[in-house]
């Protein structure tokens, strides 16, 4: 069974003559142990795909199942629980809460889930050390660099036991070495039995994936299992 199964998903923003079809009949399955890269030109629907997979947005048509549960059938509170327990999400923009320290940002899903403060902090430090920033635990986001903030966001997405990790250009603000370490983390998550989806523009990072899905104008235009080399993955703009 796939951890994530999207079937014939269509997403139309707005209505009437301003309607934008961001996704059109997209079918995508991600099994546990798999790292899938999503590539495509800007505006092709990558973020839309990810947000629907993460339960942040609802499809106009089609079905989305996470660990066998149909997302559209869940009540808001169940969906919220799914997000804080099973799905880790790294946003395209840096999305940290300014009023919380780095460690508090990381432990946020756990604390929301009722885990005690100390225990949650312990888990947060573990996740942070995995991305090499445990010494930044008590700093506030505004005192961190863009790359450090991104790593905090990744730590927040990986904290606890997540079956599905969704990352929307997590390497955008990072230098190539740090970018590699992030990819290693995603790879490791997949190798440990989780499912990961990575949106990226960078073919070098796509090379870490088991599979690459190409989107254009909201459609899956190509899917390749064995990348033939980074250069071949570059999508012409």
């Amino acid at each position: 069974m796939n951890v994530l199964q999207m079937t014939d998903v269509t997403r139309i923003h707005g209505a009437g003559h301003t309607a934008v079809t961001a996704l059109r009949d997209v079918t995508l399955g991600v099994a546990s142990g798999e790292l899938v890269a999503v590539m495509g030109p800007s505006g092709s629907g990558k973020t839309t795909l990810l947000s629907i997979a993460g339960g942040l947005d609802r499809p106009t048509a089609g079905s989305v199942e996470v660990e066998g549960a149909e997302i559209s059938a869940l009540r808001p509170s169940e969906l919220a629980r799914l997000r804080r327990q099973r799905i880790g999400y790294v946003f395209q923009q840096l999305n940290l809460i300014d009023g919380l320290t780095a460690a508090e940002n990381v432990s946020l899903p756990l604390e929301l889930d009722g885990v005690g403060r100390k225990q949650a902090r312990q888990a947060a430090l573990t996740a942070m050390s995995a991305v090499g920033i445990e010494e930044l635990a008590d700093r506030y986001p505004q005192d961190l660099s863009g790359g450090e903030q991104q790593r905090v966001a990744i730590a927040r997405a990986t904290v606890g036991k997540r079956s599905l990790l969704l990352a929307d250009e997590p390497t955008g603000a990072l230098d190539s070495i740090t970018g590699e370490s992030v990819l290693r983390l995603l790879r490791g998550h997949a190798d440990a039995g989780g499912a990961s989806v990575l949106v990226t523009h960078d073919a070098r990072f796509a090379a870490w994936a088991d599979r690459v899905v190409f989107l254009r104008d909201g459609r899956v235009v190509d899917e390749t299992n064995t990348p033939e080399g980074p250069e071949s993955l570059l999508v012409p703009r």
Binding site: P76, R84, G99
Partner: protein, 864 residues
């Protein structure tokens, strides 16, 4: 407009104070008479007005004889009558004019508002207060003191609308006069002179007739006489000279009040501009990127404030004017004057509008400074500068606050009036400025709190200065219910301390001259076992005690008074300094002293001494009784007799005019030439005192009043009737202030919430259930309200406590022996608990309800 909600908010915050100012200033202009209106209100179009010196004996023919040919004399008779109408005591005045009120010189002195002027005998025009009190209208008959008049119009004396008045057609009072025809007296004569008449010589001739040879007039040779010629015969110039125009002062006061209110709303407006600035940043960045310098950027933001200010001020002035038109017909109830047409005073209105524009511009100033200082790049990225830790200003605020506390304490110790007030202003002001420090402290404590409150505290602390202004504004508003509660409760306690009459006293009076029916007194006694019922008898000089005494029928030479020196008395918050007080003397026996709880004076009373009720009522074992004047207007010029006296009882009752304060036995009275008589110096006078001997309960008071209600013309008063009742006013003021404060808190919460919308979206994205989101919103709202409350309670209470303390001090310094040196300061528990508990609870409830689900894709898009 990018943010219509925020702009509307700012416009409203400017518009409301300006509307109130416009309304207030316009009503002041409308109700305060101009010089012209004042003189006409005093004397119609007459050249002279004569106020006869003594009642009943005006020789109209003699007056006419000294006036130039072609003069007209109009007499106004007056009849004062006290009666119980619909359960309350009413002091009604009935005037009869010798010509109808629509004929010169009367128009202006009387203003006909509806219907027609009374012309036929038996007709009357009544003023709006009669309409209110007697519940009558044009076409009805009205009975006043047993006389019936037919109402044909509504008319009032513009300057005399404090109590119900009627003006009746010529001849009406005389014809209807039956019993107390003496009560009808000539109150004034209006004299219309022909053209070219010599005012000075006419006045001089008139004076000879009106004044009488035995009256000493104030002048060079008698500067201390009570009466001046102008009091008896007034020209239009005299009348104009007595005009005091309070419009400028009152207008100034309302401008000052509005400036204060605008300061509070300006704080919020500044916060609102501060929030709006995030949205304007890109635009400002563009101004910068296209070559504008910081001054341009600042100008853009400031102009935004100015334009909102113009809109707000315009709406406010328009609302205020509309309100003035609506309110004017009811104005007489507060001003006791008939308002004329609504006066729209252009400079005042312009000033009000300008004030609003300036306030809005100033509140945009601070965000504008931030905007101007930001780098263009930051502005383009819509990145706000990180909020700095509380700056030097907050620290200075704390220092100022400390100095203020020291000044207050010093002032209290040195018994100064000004220092404690100034100190407490410094204390409160400094504290308000130091709010960011407080919030910073709270932020540091947050780490140990549960998620929701931790976020709320950190958020509030993080937006430090921006939130602080709003919190300061809410605190200012919340101070009001605490101050109002503290002041009115303390004042009530002070009044209760004063004991106008005893807590167990019931005063019974009748509107006529008859005494209370025996049956009624028996019923009251049955309702109050062990009570004492005694008659109240004033002591009056028997005619013939002194040669030449102006005795009237019944041998009454006037009431006897006891004089005593007082240095300072504090009456209803006003301190009247040095002078003497005179209180009527009463004739009574042992029972009366018992009823007054002064039984320790019985022996002295029976040995012929005068007994003063309460400590301090007698100094050096004697009291002085001025002998009756030989004629009207010869002031009490020195002849006094001394009678030995003692003070008895533990309580001095404040009301010495209706409740006996000095008592003499019947025998001793007769030896001095005093007889029981007449009615007292103030209306109404009570005939019977019932002392229950232990404090009356509410039920007992209700029972007694019910008994009396069955007997027409009887009225019954207890201590409660003499005390000003603040309860309704207090509740209204507390409620209104709490509502305003809640509104401000709500605005503040909305502002902070709009800053935190992104955080909410992130929370939702990482899986916060709806209830956590609501909990955070509730905690944030509650926290802001609580911070404001925590500041408001001590600040509001303290300022009143300082005022009360200095008043106590005044009392101590006065040598008024029987006055309490303790000025009560009552903690307004209800108001404080509303502010401290109900307001934060309501605010967090509001936060809970108003929290909206963020658009889930908000964190996926760049910040807008």
């Amino acid at each position: 407009m990018r943010a219509p909600g925020r702009s509307a908010l700012i416009v409203a915050m400017i518009a409301f104070p300006i509307a109130a100012l416009t309304l207030g200033a316009t009503l002041i202009r409308t109700s305060v008479p101009t010089l012209e209106e004042y003189v006409t209100g005093e004397m119609g179009s007459a050249e002279l007005v004569v106020h006869p010196a003594t009642a009943g004996d005006v020789d109209t023919a003699a007056i006419a004889s000294v006036l130039p040919r072609g003069s007209q004399v109009v007499a106004i008779h007056q009849w004062n009558h006290t009666e119980v109408v619909n359960g309350s005591l009413v002091y009604a005045t009935v005037w009869e004019t010798s010509i109808p009120i629509d004929r010169p010189p009367l128009p202006g002195l009387y203003v006909l508002m509806a219907g027609r002027a009374p012309t036929r005998t038996g007709e009357a025009a009544v003023d709006p207060r009669v309409v209110d009190v007697y519940r009558v209208s044009v076409g009805d008959d009205i009975a006043v003191g047993g006389r019936t008049f037919h109402i044909v119009g509504i008319a009032a004396r513009p300057l005399q609308m404090s109590s119900p008045t009627l003006v009746v057609a010529p001849g009406t009072l005389d014809r209807a006069a039956v019993a107390n025809s003496d009560d009808v007296f000539v109150s004034s004569l209006l004299v219309d002179l022909p053209k070219n008449a010599d005012l000075a010589s006419t006045t001089a001739r008139l004076a000879k007739i009106v004044v009488g040879s035995d009256v000493r007039l104030r002048g060079k040779d008698a500067p201390d006489a009570d009466v001046s010629l102008q009091d008896l015969i007034a020209t239009r110039d005299n009348s104009a000279a007595s005009f005091i125009n309070d419009a400028p002062v009152l207008t100034g006061v309302s401008f000052a009040g509005t400036t204060l209110a605008l300061f509070a709303t300006g704080l919020i407006a500044a916060a609102a501009f501060g929030v709006g600035i995030r949205r304007q940043l890109r635009m400002l960045g563009l101004v910068g990127a296209t070559g504008g310098d910081p001054r341009h950027v600042r100008a853009v933001v400031l102009l935004g404030g100015t334009s909102l200010g113009i809109v707000g001020a315009g709406i406010g002035v328009a609302l205020g004017i509309a309100g003035a038109f609506v309110a004017t017909p009811y104005l007489y109830r507060f001003t006791d004057r008939l308002p004329g047409a609504v006066v729209l005073h252009a400079p005042t209105l312009l000033g009000a509008a300008l004030l609003g524009v300036v306030a809005a511009t100033l509140s945009a100033l601070w965000p504008a400074r931030i905007a101007a200082r930001m780098s263009t790049l930051d502005a383009l990225a819509a990145r706000l500068p990180p909020s700095k830790p509380p700056g030097r200003l907050a620290g200075r605020g704390l220092i100022v606050s400390t100095i203020g506390a020291a000044v207050t304490a010093a002032g209290m110790i040195r018994k100064d009036d000004v220092l404690p007030a100034a100190g407490s202003v410094m204390m409160v002001g400094g504290f308000l400025v130091a709010v960011p420090l407080l919030m910073n402290l709270a932020g540091r404590l947050a780490a140990r709190m549960p998620m929701a409150s931790r976020l709320a505290v950190r958020d509030t602390a993080r937006h430090g200065r921006r939130t602080a202004t709003a919190i300061a504004a809410a605190a200012l508003a919340l101070m009001a219910p605490v101050s109002v509660g503290a002041l009115s409760l303390s004042e009530e306690a002070h009044q209760a301390q004063y004991q106008w009459i005893g807590k167990d006293h019931i005063l019974i009076g009748t509107t006529g001259s008859e005494t209370a029916p025996r049956e009624m007194l028996t019923k009251i006694r049955d309702a109050l076992p062990d009570s004492i019922t005694v008659g109240i008898n004033f002591a009056a000089w028997d005619a013939g005690v002194r040669k030449g005494t102006a005795g009237t029928d019944g041998g009454d030479g006037g009431l006897a008074f006891v004089e005593r020196t007082v240095f300072s008395v504090d009456v209803r918050g006003h301190s009247f300094a040095a002078g003497w007080e005179s209180a009527p003397l009463f004739i009574g026996g042992a029972d009366l002293l018992r009823a007054l709880h002064a039984q320790d004076g019985i022996h002295a009373l029976e040995s012929g001494k005068i007994v003063g009720i309460g400590p301090g009522s007698v100094e050096a074992g004697v009291v002085r009784l001025p002998l009756p004047p030989t004629a009207a207007f010869s002031s009490s010029d020195g002849e006094r007799i001394e009678v030995s006296a003692v003070a008895a009882g533990a309580t001095s009752y404040g009301n010495r005019e209706q409740l006996p304060g000095y008592v003499i036995s019947k025998d001793a009275a007769r030896r001095l030439g005093l007889v029981p008589g007449g009615s007292g110096p103030v209306s109404p006078s009570f005939q019977t005192l019932v002392a229950a001997l232990r404090p009356l309960t509410k039920d007992q008071i209700r029972d007694v009043k019910e008994i009396a209600a069955a007997y027409p013309g009887m009225f019954v008063q207890t201590l409660a009737d003499f005390l000003p009742q603040f309860r309704t006013a207090r509740a209204a003021a507390t409620g209104a202030a709490a509502l305003i404060a809640l509104g401000i808190v709500a605005i503040t919460v909305a502002l902070v919430a709009s800053e935190s919308r992104r955080d909410h979206a992130i929370m939702v994205a990482v899986g916060a259930p709806p209830r956590v989101r609501r909990r955070i919103a509730a905690a944030r709202a509650g926290l802001i309200a609580l911070l404001a409350s925590v500041i408001a309670v001590p600040a509001g209470f303290l300022s009143i406590a300082v005022i009360q303390f200095s008043r106590a001090d005044l009392m101590v310094r006065s040598t008024c022996a029987q006055c309490s040196t303790h000025f009560p300061i009552v903690i307004p528990v209800a108001a404080i608990s509303i502010v401290l508990l109900a307001v934060p609870l309501l605010a967090s409830g509001w936060g809970w309800l108003a929290s909206r689900r963020p658009k889930s894709n908000m964190m996926l898009q760049p910040l807008q």
